[in-house]
């Protein structure tokens, strides 16, 4: 009796092991293994193709991608599955899947933080000769550059955005103040409007990227950057200290609790009419004129964060790339081209307030109507620097943001902030 129970249990263990092995195996059917493919029409074969696209989760962005993929399926018959994961886990998920070479993904939505790393690891396809003759001429060159490495094209840029200053035209007109064209103007206006019922300005100062982005935008406006053209650390400058000092000065007129504000909290304050100015991402700026969300629709205008009259800012973008281990690279290229074309980008502007990278997009009259901040964005791109994206930026950003927060809480000086960042960068 005991022997038979023992045998049954052993059998169950073996069965479990086999089950696990079976489930973990590569279940995708390889083209050469599928019988009868040759007898199918081209359309039927396309219906058999299923592309898996990896992107970050969260609406309205995720829902908009779903909608565009549905349109693509309708046009081509190619199915698209979206694997959306929280932004915080995206890099890790994509990298692990690519490193394990399972062919899980066909299309990758890459942030500049990990774009170059994916290129150097060979995770994405070199598209230089695969996009078709003259295709890249349709794109704004400076924006296309964000998807290049060593002169080769590894993707198509999308989700273009920058950081802008939105100001209330009605209040500025009433107070007879000209639109801010420099840091001093912003400070003076914030001082003027600050009262019991209204903050002078709203801007985000939470750790996790927002405060770092605001500082980087200010720094780019001064014409200096973290590194010089030769790759040497160039942060310890008077301009960088001035940018930190500006953040400190502004915080005196900012909304209570700014050190826990992300972009959404910052813009929420502006939408309820509690501030005449807000520093925000261009994608969030569209919320200000959304009748379903905002109580201040039609009252905003936008300017870049200018330093002594020179507009500047950071270019924030994502890149659609094709996974190097994708079985369906040609179809994947078709999809990323489709997603980046002007009509689809105009749809995304409506749905999520982001911009495209094609020349046609910026020449389209409906874009100006849809996106009141388009002109300010174009100005910001003039001296725009791509948002910091080197490998150890997250660590440096943590130091920068922590020190800036300490400075806002009067525990640190602007000079010390820059010194701490320079020390971290040279470490």
């Amino acid at each position: 009796m005991k022997k038979s129970v023992f045998t049954v249990v052993c059998f169950l263990i073996i069965l479990t092991m086999v089950g696990i092995y079976g489930c973990s195996g590569d279940n995708q059917t390889k083209p050469e293994e599928s019988n009868g493919q040759d007898n199918k029409t081209e359309e039927e074969q396309k219906e058999d193709v299923s592309l898996v696209l990896s992107r970050w989760a969260g609406d309205p962005y995720e829902a908009a991608t779903y909608e565009l993929c549905k349109r693509f399926t309708k046009e081509t018959g190619i199915n698209v599955e979206i694997d959306a994961v929280p932004w915080e886990n995206l890099r890790e998920k994509q990298a692990l899947e690519m490193a394990s070479k399972n062919g899980t993904y066909d299309i990758l939505y890459l942030h500049p933080f990990w774009f170059s790393e994916f290129v150097s690891n060979g995770y994405v396809v070199d598209l230089t000769d695969k996009l078709g003759a003259g295709y890249i001429d349709e794109y704004v060159p400076s924006l296309m550059d964000t998807s290049k490495a060593d002169g080769k094209i590894y993707g198509i840029p999308e989700w273009i955005g920058t950081i802008l200053l939105a100001y209330r035209t009605d209040l500025f007109k009433e107070a007879d103040i000209a639109p801010p064209s420099g840091w001093d103007d912003i400070l003076n206006a914030a001082r003027h409007f600050k009262s019991e019922d209204m903050y002078g300005i709203s801007f985000p100062a939470k750790k996790g990227g927002t405060l770092g982005d605001v500082f980087s935008s200010l720094l780019a406006g001064t014409g200096t950057w973290y590194y010089d053209n030769d790759g040497n650390i160039a942060i310890d400058t008077a301009q960088a200290v001035e940018a930190a000092q500006f953040v400190l000065d502004l915080s005196g007129y900012a909304a209570e609790g700014l050190m826990n504000f992300h972009w959404d909290e910052t813009v929420n304050i502006a939408m309820t009419g509690k501030t005449p100015m807000v520093i925000c991402m261009s994608s969030n700026a569209s919320w200000l004129d959304d009748p379903e969300k905002s109580q201040t629709v039609g009252l905003w205008d936008y300017v870049p964060l200018s330093y002594k009259g020179n507009p500047g800012g950071i270019i924030v973008n994502y890149t659609w790339s094709v996974a190097s281990d994708s079985e369906y690279q040609a179809e994947a290229i078709d999809l990323i081209k489709f997603l980046s074309e002007t009509p689809q980008q105009i749809y995304l502007t409506k749905a999520q307030g982001t911009c495209g990278a094609t020349k046609g997009y910026y020449e389209d009259s409906s874009v100006i109507e849809l996106l009141p901040s388009a002109q300010a964005m174009n100005q910001a791109f003039t001296n725009g620097m791509q948002a910091p994206s080197w490998g150890n930026w997250p660590e440096q950003q943590e130091v920068l943001e922590t020190e800036l927060q300490n400075m806002i809480a009067d525990r640190q000086t602007p000079e010390a902030v820059i010194k701490a960042l320079a020390a971290k960068m040279s470490n």
Partner: protein, 301 residues
């Protein structure tokens, strides 16, 4: 000789209980692979300098460097101190509040079930959801907490999560709100198990109120208090979700905890070797704390 006999007996008992061991075997195998195997691998990785994405590349052996670096890592020290303070303060508050609510519940006769169910609600909510709920409660401009305080005390806009002085306290409040029900549940179960005769006898002897609590209730539930302490210490030492959802460790490093710092090191900075060393140190800390508690339980029971 005696040792040999004992060993023989042990071996024969193993063979005689083959069926029992066979039933335990599947769980043991999984436990070995997924817990001990992973722990050993984490320990192994903690001696290497390795980035998460360098899967195909050789890892660089750095010996004890990752552990030595911790000694000079000021963020680690701050995170460790925050975690210890956080654990200690939260446990005391949870125990005190939990004990008195459990006592109250034990004494009431009507609507006991309903009250119990309501009290348990925070505990069964996912920590991230709790974090998001409290993010809105704490909102300086639109949050219900500031609104209520303003109505009664005209306090103005208090920045609960964005202030160096209040962020830490605010997180403790959330944790206490969420996990005190667990303490109530366990202690109330302990109180409910006190034999009725003991209480009757105490009453006949003239004891009432606080004397019964001091002489009968507290000694009876003491082993359960230790169990609560063990479980809550382990939980609080690993606190991550609430802090991540509410402050991401800020402002500055005021709410940075060991678990959050380990996560950032591993999954934001991708220094897996150092992250593994941090995890091992966390494990050792929890092991030491739990051992102290277990020793106390053994002594008292």
């Amino acid at each position: 000789m005696q040792g040999k006999v004992r060993m023989k007996k042990k071996l024969s008992s193993i063979f005689n209980n083959k069926t029992g061991y066979a039933f335990v075997a599947p769980s043991l195998i999984f436990l070995c692979i997924f817990i001990f195997g992973m722990l050993i691998y984490a320990f192994y990785l903690s001696f290497y300098d390795w980035k998460l994405f360098d899967l195909g590349r050789l890892k660089t052996f750095v010996g004890l460097s990752n552990y030595i670096n911790m000694l000079t890592d000021s963020i680690f020290k701050t995170a460790l101190m925050n975690t210890l303070k956080f654990t200690f303060i939260s446990i005391i508050i949870e125990l005190v509040i939990g004990f008195f609510i459990a006592l109250g519940l034990w004494n009431i006769k009507r609507m006991k079930k309903l009250i119990q169910s309501v009290i348990l609600l925070p505990m069964i909510t996912a920590p991230v959801i709790v974090g998001l709920i409290w993010r809105y409660i704490y909102d300086p401009q639109f949050g219900i907490l500031n609104y209520t305080l303003n109505v009664f005390f005209n306090t103005g806009e208090i920045s609960w999560l964005g202030s160096h002085s209040l962020a830490f306290v605010s997180i403790i409040i959330v944790e206490v709100w969420q996990m005190t029900p667990f303490v109530i549940l366990v202690l109330h179960a302990g109180m409910a198990a006190i034999p009725h005769e003991n209480l009757e006898a105490a009453r006949v002897d003239g004891a009432n109120g606080w004397k019964i609590v001091k002489s009968i209730v507290i000694p009876y539930i003491f082993p359960l208090v230790i169990i609560v302490l063990i479980m809550r210490t382990m939980d609080l030492y690993k606190i991550f979700d609430t802090v991540y959802a509410l402050t991401k460790g800020g402002p500055g490093y005021t709410t940075e905890t060991i678990a959050l710092y380990t996560y950032k090191t591993g999954f934001s900075y991708y220094q897996m070797g150092y992250a593994m060393a941090l995890s091992i140190v966390t494990l050792v800390f929890i092991f030491i704390l739990s051992s102290i508690y277990f020793k106390k339980v053994k002594k008292d029971i």
